[in-house]
């Protein structure tokens, strides 16, 4: 077919028959070649959540990637300016729905640092347990999803079963499975139920065989290795330049973990290692996530072994609700309850600004909170690890095949809720 013949109908009806972009590149006379702009997402099976990549393809090869965010924009940061300190904890659940507990804890810690509250040791230990359980849930499902995006659907469902068991523990402790809202400023919403430690121990015992089975499915699978090794490689310097954190950065050789380097919630008491690899490819991220699951199990076991007794709320700090019995029997407690619960009252934070970061499963989750001395924050700014990981898809995946883009995307563990806020 001559170029004139193909060009004529395109010019006559441009909308009906020109779905493949306008940039026509003809290498030889008669050979009609053009790059194709393809829209990955926001509704696409591999774009978990509502992520969107606009890709320019040359055949199977991806020439340009334009990552676009904002399809799950919910105004969480703006909500922070209208919610009291404790009310905003509910919003933090919805940001990273893969690890709501870690988000709860991160925000509560930031506010407590602003208020200067010391949380009792039992609450600290429970927070550590919950953070690590949510890390286990996030990483094990992340590894499973990595398998799913490469076609190994079974590994993902095995991971899902274990994640549900993590949620069983969350439900026992907080009443919620996905959106836990477990922490309060100055402590926790509830103490652990009596049978909860035993349930957690039973879960830990069951997890190791499942981990080994998943490793058997994927870790030495020849196809999986070929699909992941050397794909999406990022050097240590690149990881620093693009602001990466968490398992993705540690897979690139960046030995940084806030739990060890800037301990909070008593992480300095626990004996654990920070797994680091230097390859920086998709496979290294997979291995780092699996290794972190094992380290988290160690931390949970230690925390359970030395779980202190005592209250789970900082009683004297005038930020936490007193015990109900005391409200009915002591005037001071009644007043404190009244002061916290009545409209127009509540926790009053001093004027000031604070940045506090915690190591969530995805990486460094930072809270920059400005308080103007009223009952609500003046500004709540989140530093989501997903944002930095999502933008780094461009240098990682450009020039690679479409299948690699999918593999890299799932290895980054981007959560749309946290990304778009």
């Amino acid at each position: 077919m001559s170029p004139e013949l193909t060009a004529a109908p395109l010019a006559a009806a441009p909308l009906a028959r020109a779905p493949f972009g306008d940039a026509a590149v003809s290498l030889e006379p008669g050979l009609h070649e053009q790059e194709m702009v393809i829209n990955f997402g926001p509704q696409h099976p591999a774009m978990h959540g509502t992520l969107r990549l606009v890709m320019t393809l040359d055949g199977e090869k991806c020439r340009h990637i334009d990552p676009q965010m904002g399809y799950l924009h919910t105004g969480f940061e703006k909500l922070g300016e209208h919610r009291t300190w404790n009310q905003f904890i509910v919003v933090t659940d919805r940001m990273n729905y893969m690890s709501a507990m870690a988000n709860n804890v991160g925000f509560a810690l930031a506010v407590e640092e602003l208020l200067g509250i010391e949380v009792p040791p039992r609450a600290q230990a429970i927070r550590v347990i919950m953070c690590e359980l949510s890390r286990i849930g996030d990483h094990i499902l992340g590894v499973g999803l990595q398998g799913m995006d490469l076609g190994a659907f079974t590994a993902m469902l095995w991971a899902f079963i274990e994640r549900e068991k993590v949620y069983d523990v969350f439900e026992l402790a907080s009443g919620g499975r996905l959106t836990t809202s477990y922490t309060r400023v100055g402590g926790l919403a509830f103490d652990l139920p009596e049978d909860c430690p035993a349930r957690i121990r039973a879960f830990i015992e069951r997890l190791e065989p499942v981990l080994q089975e998943m490793e058997g499915m994927l870790s030495r699978n020849r196809i999986f290795l070929e699909r992941t090794q050397g794909v999406g490689t990022f050097s240590r310097q690149q990881a620093i330049d693009w602001g990466l954190s968490g398992p993705v950065a540690r897979a690139s050789g960046l030995d940084r973990d806030l739990r060890r380097d800037r301990p909070y919630s008593g992480y300095e008491q626990y004996d654990f290692e920070v797994p680091v690899r230097t390859e920086g490819d998709v496979y290294a991220r997979y291995l780092v996530r699996l290794a972190e699951v094992r380290q988290s199990l160690r931390i949970v076991e230690q925390a359970l072994d030395r779980l202190p007794s005592g209250p789970v709320n900082a009683i004297g700090a005038k930020a936490t609700l007193p015990d109900k019995d005391e409200v009915y029997s002591r005037m001071e407690s009644l007043i404190q309850h009244f002061m916290l619960e009545m409209p127009g009252h509540g926790i009053k934070a001093p004027k000031g600004a604070i940045y506090h970061a915690t190591e969530t499963p995805n990486g460094e989750l930072g809270w920059y909170i400005v308080s103007d001395g009223t009952g609500v924050p003046y500004r709540v700014r989140v530093r989501p690890p997903s944002l930095y990981q999502f933008q780094s898809i461009k240098p990682m995946a450009e020039g690679r095949l479409v299948a690699d883009v999918v593999a890299i995307m799932s290895s980054l563990g981007v959560i749309a809720g946290e990304l778009d806020r």
Binding site: A16, R17, P19, F20, M36, I38, H44, P45, A46, E60, G147, M148, D149, L150, G151, A152, F153, T154, L157, W158, I161, M217, L218, N221, I223, F224, E226, R227, L401, V402, A403, D404, V406, S410
Partner: protein, 377 residues
């Protein structure tokens, strides 16, 4: 009655039987696939759509209802066994959506062209003995539809046309993901037909015929009935098996419909019964390829001590048919098992495996076979 009239009637009956059984294996296979994958993944699988008689107690007079245990009253015959029927009904009532940019002719032709050649090629598969004496009347019935001498060559010539359906469907959708799926499918199916054909050539050289029934007789009469080509030509069998997965677009070779990459591949824009026809064609292709593998490498309908290859009795013919069916089901289950275990190849790795690993291996196998046969003769 003259022999050709009997043969003509018998051929019509055989055609109805083969298509009927093959079309009925498809829902069974869909059900098995969903149940086996559920078993592998720690799920339950379909268990809602049952063959339920309702509460059977209400069939009885009121005075006798309490005599029947309540557990019997909710008796379910194979939980979820009607799921494929429910799926088919659902697809039949789906809205028919044709994309505005579709090429109507190709779009409508695609599913048909994907399905018809595959179903036609089943005619060459021998599903039972070739020597059934029809109820002792002296009319010898060959239990396959087309007793053609071209055998496997004809089968390949027809079944390979199926790729046109996929290409037409993907191209005719006028959409980007189906286009990529169609291009991938065409390249993959053409590439893997080469090692498959070469593996087959070695098998043909061993048997010395392209007639499908001759394959089975050769395997059933040598090595005490166990002269299966999977033992005589293990490398060819392995290459054929791998190429079979690629031909059927099953994991680890399901690139044409790779969900995380291409959404649904070539059938992304199809809905309703046109999608069902693609689906049916895909499963029929699975059945065809498994039948072919069984016929060529696993001794077809033969089994020592069960089927007498030269027997003429009706019972023997029936036994041979059941043996064939059982062997197909085993290979189909193997396909299901592999699908839910392995990840997917990347496009360049797929081509690498096809052209740089399997084609040289198949060629070497063919050369070695030829030399051995020459020395033996």
């Amino acid at each position: 009655m003259s022999d050709w009239v009997v043969q003509a009637i018998a051929t019509a009956v055989k055609a109805g039987l083969v298509i009927g059984i093959a079309m009925n294996i498809v829902p069974l296979l869909i059900y098995l696939e969903r149940k086996i994958s559920a078993y592998m993944q720690g799920r339950i699988g379909p268990n809602r759509v049952n063959l339920v008689l309702g509460d059977v107690r209400y069939l009885l007079p009121p005075s006798m209802r309490d005599a029947v245990p309540a557990s019997l009253s909710r008796f379910k015959l194979i939980p979820g066994s009607l799921q494929p029927l429910a799926d088919a009904v659902k697809l039949a009532f789906k809205e028919e959506i044709v994309p505005a940019s579709a090429d109507k002719v190709l779009y409508y032709l695609g599913p048909l062209v994907a399905f018809v050649p595959v179903a036609t090629a089943l005619a060459f598969i021998p599903f039972g003995t070739g020597t059934w004496d029809l109820f002792g009347t002296g009319h010898v019935i060959d239990l396959r539809i087309a007793s053609a001498d071209v055998g496997v060559l004809g089968l390949f010539a027809i079944s390979s046309l199926g790729v046109y359906g996929i290409a037409a469907g993907g191209w005719g959708s006028g959409s980007k993901f189906p286009l990529m799926g169609a291009v991938r499918a065409s390249a993959q199916m053409i590439s893997y037909e080469v090692p498959m054909g070469l593996a087959l050539l070695a098998a043909i050289a061993t048997v010395g015929s392209v007639d499908t029934q001759a394959f089975v007789y050769e395997q059933a009469t040598t090595w005490g009935g166990m002269g299966w080509l999977v033992f005589k030509q293990p490398l060819a069998a392995l290459i054929f098996l791998v190429a079979m997965f690629a031909e059927n677009n099953r994991l680890p070779f399901d690139l044409p419909e790779a969900e995380p990459e291409l959404v649904g591949g070539y059938h992304t824009e199809y809905s309703g019964l046109k999608f069902a026809l693609f689906f049916l064609g895909e499963y029929m292709a699975m059945i065809l390829m498994c039948s072919l593998f069984v016929t060529i490498f696993l001794g077809g309908w033969s089994l020592p001590f069960v089927v007498d290859p030269s027997g003429t009795s009706g019972l023997n013919a029936l036994a041979s048919g059941l043996v064939f069916l059982a062997k197909i089901m085993l290979v189909l289950n193997f396909q299901v098992w592999i699908r839910w275990t392995l990840p997917r190849f990347r496009y360049d790795q797929l081509m690498h495996l096809g052209w740089k690993v399997m084609v040289p291996l198949a060629l070497a196998n063919l050369v070695v076979t030829a030399i051995v046969l020459h020395l033996a003769a």
